[in-house]
């Protein structure tokens, strides 16, 4: 129907939804992030216990040992709701696409020194499996976590890691024939240098406490892996040794890690601030998983950095501890 209306000012009856208003301290305009996040998961009656887990309600706070008085203390500093999330990633993928294009049209992949190409393939291609593991683990958090505040960004993380696994795959297809992916999977399955990492990833697949999984995967493992591989080895070393093309086509991974780290730290900080027991609990989880992750990443560090690897791993572990401490974790 067509109707020409004058613009009139009419008084709203309220500014936002009740459950949002009660959480943001009164009836005031709320952002799309807030309306699309706060209180979205049911906290009320649930009719049936899951056949697949009769010991719990479908949404159940006791699926983790973490205690939260307010599960919506988990806020995303990026304020991602679906729309802002896909817009951000669409911009980044456009940049990545341009980088792949640039490298391809100028034949930069063919111009790579052989040792650099070999290292890039050996180091990055098996990581597509690690990224897929990270995707599965974050999907687990999205599925069994409590409260949209943390489960929503966990799903975005899961999709990001699927995207990264796909960018890693494209890098393989850019630098080599598809068989290189088979060789990388073979290394992932059997090469001794990858086995502690694969064991760690598979052990995380059976971890049932979703917040412990978040600590082990997103804070510890990815918190060491991305700075090591994409920042230190690829952006630092490879770029200087004639491998700038590799750095160009992995910029998504680096940007993603820098952005996502802020979200991870904000969750740890919120958990530590909410309940006195959490800081020590998270500290125990970090202490449990960091040595395993560092040991699993050592062979990768050696591949890329040779005799500097031990020193770099120590630095990265110290940096991780410092991040945790800043977020309020008690060692």
């Amino acid at each position: 129907m067509q109707m020409d209306l004058r613009t009139v000012t009419i008084a709203p009856q309220r500014q936002t939804y009740g459950h949002v208003a009660r959480h943001i301290g009164g009836d005031k305009p709320a952002s799309r992030y807030q309306e699309g996040t706060i209180g979205l998961q049911t906290t009320g009656n649930q009719h049936y216990r899951p056949l697949w887990d009769p010991a719990h309600d479908y949404f159940d706070e006791s699926r983790t040992k973490l205690k939260m008085a307010d599960w919506y203390a988990f806020r995303d500093p990026r304020q991602y709701y679906y729309g802002s999330y896909v817009l951000a990633r669409a911009r980044q993928q456009e940049a990545a696409e341009a980088a792949f294009d640039f490298v391809e049209t100028r034949g930069l992949a063919d111009a790579l020194p052989d040792d650099i190409r070999a290292l890039a393939l050996d180091l990055i291609l098996p990581l597509r499996h690690v990224a897929w593991g990270a995707s599965m683990n974050n999907d687990f958090i999205a599925a069994y976590g409590y409260g949209t505040g943390i489960t929503q960004p966990a799903l975005y993380y899961a999709m990001d890691q699927l995207g990264i696994a796909q960018f890693d795959t494209r890098l393989g297809l850019l630098l080599a024939e598809p068989e290189a992916l088979d060789a990388a999977k073979e290394a992932w399955l059997h090469d001794v240098r990858w086995q502690s990492l694969r064991r760690l990833v598979e052990d995380l697949f059976v971890e049932q406490d979703w917040f412990e999984l978040f600590v082990a995967q997103d804070l510890v493992l990815d918190g060491l892996l991305y700075p090591l591989v994409f920042q230190t080895i690829v952006d630092g070393d490879l770029a200087q040794r004639g491998g700038a093309a590799v750095a160009m086509v992995t910029q998504f991974q680096n940007e993603w890690a820098a952005e996502t780290r802020k979200w991870v730290d904000a969750q740890i900080k919120a958990a530590c601030a909410d309940d006195a027991g959490n800081a020590a609990l998270i500290g125990q989880w970090i202490a449990k998983w960091t040595p395993r992750a560092a040991a699993a990443l050592c062979p990768l560090a050696e591949m890329g950095l040779g005799d500097r690897s031990a020193a770099v791993m120590d630095e990265l572990c110290a940096a991780l501890d410092a991040r945790a401490a800043r977020a309020g974790v008690r060692a």
Partner: protein, 518 residues
């Protein structure tokens, strides 16, 4: 999706997509695979060859982000424009807003549940292909939930009944129908969930849900809702191909799967159509400008489209669910029974009701020549007389509800519209009540599940529908008023008749201002 291969082997789209998804997986050896994927066997579905799974769509994440971002840009531009220009004042009639209320209260939380449910099964199938498809659907469902909440946000600023949609969905009696529907699916095993939601709901019944809402929005001037509906439909097309792929894949894997799937189709077609009672009522009574009747929609979207589908599935040994017989018998009664119920029980609803006008009733007579004038018009005329005499009829008793679908036991015997239909079953010394043979069958197949149903009426009697600290022994305790307070129904504003409601008055006032000349 241009692949950067120079003088390299050219990969086909399918091959390339396989590398980008299934190629990422591996056979684990440090942990038993049954521990990693502990949930995809207990339902008895047998899968021998996951490689036979055909990916129903081939969207890598980079392409997904790009396409979806484009859609989001367009959608929010329209939502913003609609809000900024007070687009709600261009609606056909203030009564239309009650459809929006029904939508945000009844369906937006289901989209959220769907998001969580697909995240769950996206972790549980042991093959990468279906997991990726389910994760992507989980992400889409988050989109649907949020775009609906965002598009309706502006309505909520001006009209009643929407502000507490989350709480209402959790506790309000009528909203336990959609809530229990989805929770039933999500608490089933992963295969039941995907058959229930991915196939029965998103494939078989989806047009019956969305077409009435979207075209209803379009006919009644609701640009915002229309746009999110259309925008969601393009995701829905992907979800439908997933639902169909799952069914065919499962049926082809082992003959043992056929009776299990048939049982789920029987259950979920019935539960789905029981849920659609709300949509039928919306179509026939709540849209000021109507699109088509429930009966017409059923003929087109079920009888024609799904008839062909079930003929196609016959080669696997699947038959049309037997409940369809009863649905056909109820076709010309469903919406009338529902609206009569909501009219009488208007005190505990969060949207407004009204008696159909003379023109409305003539439309209903034309659409339902065999039933409307005979069974329902006299009721409306009687209630109109009561209203005219200043004594509007209202039912305040707590109705008996079906233990499975949770709808008040308001349906009549199939083929006998003057006899109320009630079924019962005994289980472990308790008696349970059902609206139909089909709901009773569903109960008897899984009694341990359905004895858990939190029946809204029972919750009131058990004292579970009062705010903390309420003392039912206090002098002058008014259980009905206390329950409304617990439900967060603002009495006289959220509930009751449309005529004379704040929403009706404000709409008329604001539209008057907007139409007045300077």
């Amino acid at each position: 999706m241009d692949m950067p291969v120079t003088k390299k082997k050219k990969l086909g789209l399918k091959e390339r997509y396989a590398l980008m998804t299934r190629g990422l997986g591996w056979e684990p050896s440090y942990q038993p695979i049954d521990d990693i994927f502990p949930m995809d066997r207990f339902e008895g579905i047998k899968i021998h060859d996951w490689d036979a799974w055909e990916d129903p769509f081939r969207l890598t994440m980079d392409a997904y982000w790009k396409y979806q971002a484009e859609k989001e840009r367009k959608l929010y531009a329209i939502v913003d424009a609609f809000a900024q220009s007070n687009g709600h004042l261009t609606l056909s009639d203030a009564r239309y807003i009650n459809t929006v209320k029904l939508f945000v209260n009844g369906f937006a939380p289901l989209e959220y549940m769907s998001h969580r449910g697909f995240a769950h099964i996206g972790r549980q199938f042991r093959d990468v292909g279906p997991r990726v498809a389910c994760m992507m659907q989980s992400l889409d469902e988050m989109r649907h939930s949020q775009t609906q909440i965002h598009a309706i946000s502006n309505y909520n600023r001006y009209y009643s009944g929407m502000a507490e949609f989350r709480h209402h969905h959790d506790y309000l009696p009528y909203l336990q129908v959609p809530k229990s529907f989805f929770e039933d699916a999500a608490t089933g095993g992963p295969f039941e969930f995907i058959v229930a939601i991915g196939f029965a709901f998103e494939y078989v019944l989806t047009n019956l849900v969305f077409v009435p809402f979207i075209s209803g929005a379009a006919y009644n001037g609701d640009m915002g809702a229309m746009t999110f509906g259309f925008s969601a439909q393009s995701d829905e097309a992907r979800h439908m191909t997933l639902g169909l792929e799952v069914i065919k894949f499962v049926l082809e894997q082992d003959p043992v799967n056929v009776p299990i799937v048939q049982k789920w189709l029987n259950k979920w077609t019935w539960r789905g159509v029981r849920l659609l009672t709300l949509v039928a009522m919306m179509q026939d009574y709540m849209l000021p400008k109507r699109v088509m009747s429930w009966a017409e929609a059923w003929e087109i979207y079920f009888e024609e489209n799904c008839g062909a589908l079930f003929r196609d599935l016959a080669r696997y040994g699947i038959v049309m669910p037997p409940c369809v017989e009863q649905i056909r018998l109820e076709r010309d009664h469903l919406s009338h029974i529902a609206w009569c119920h909501f009219y009488q029980a208007r005190g505990t609803s969060d949207f407004h009701v009204w008696l159909p006008s003379k023109e409305d009733m003539d439309w209903l007579s034309a659409k339902y020549p065999d039933t409307f004038d005979r069974y329902y018009r006299p009721r409306y005329e009687y209630w109109a007389k009561c209203e005219a005499e200043g004594k509007p009829f209202e039912a305040t008793a707590v109705p008996m509800q079906c233990q499975v679908c949770q709808i008040p036991m308001m349906f009549t015997e199939p083929g006998d519209p003057l006899t109320l239909c009630q079924r019962h079953a005994d289980y472990k010394g308790e008696q349970y009540h059902f609206c139909s043979d089909h709901c009773r069958d569903i109960f008897e197949d899984e009694p341990e599940k359905f004895i858990q149903s939190k029946i809204a009426g029972h919750e009131v009697f058990k004292g579970n529908a009062f705010r903390p600290g309420t003392d039912p022994t206090a002098e002058g305790f008014n259980p009905a008023a206390e329950a409304l307070a617990f439900f967060r129904i603002e009495h006289g504003r959220d509930n009751g008749l449309h005529n004379g409601s704040t929403d009706e008055r404000n709409f008329a006032l604001w539209r008057g201002l907007a139409k007045a000349n300077d």
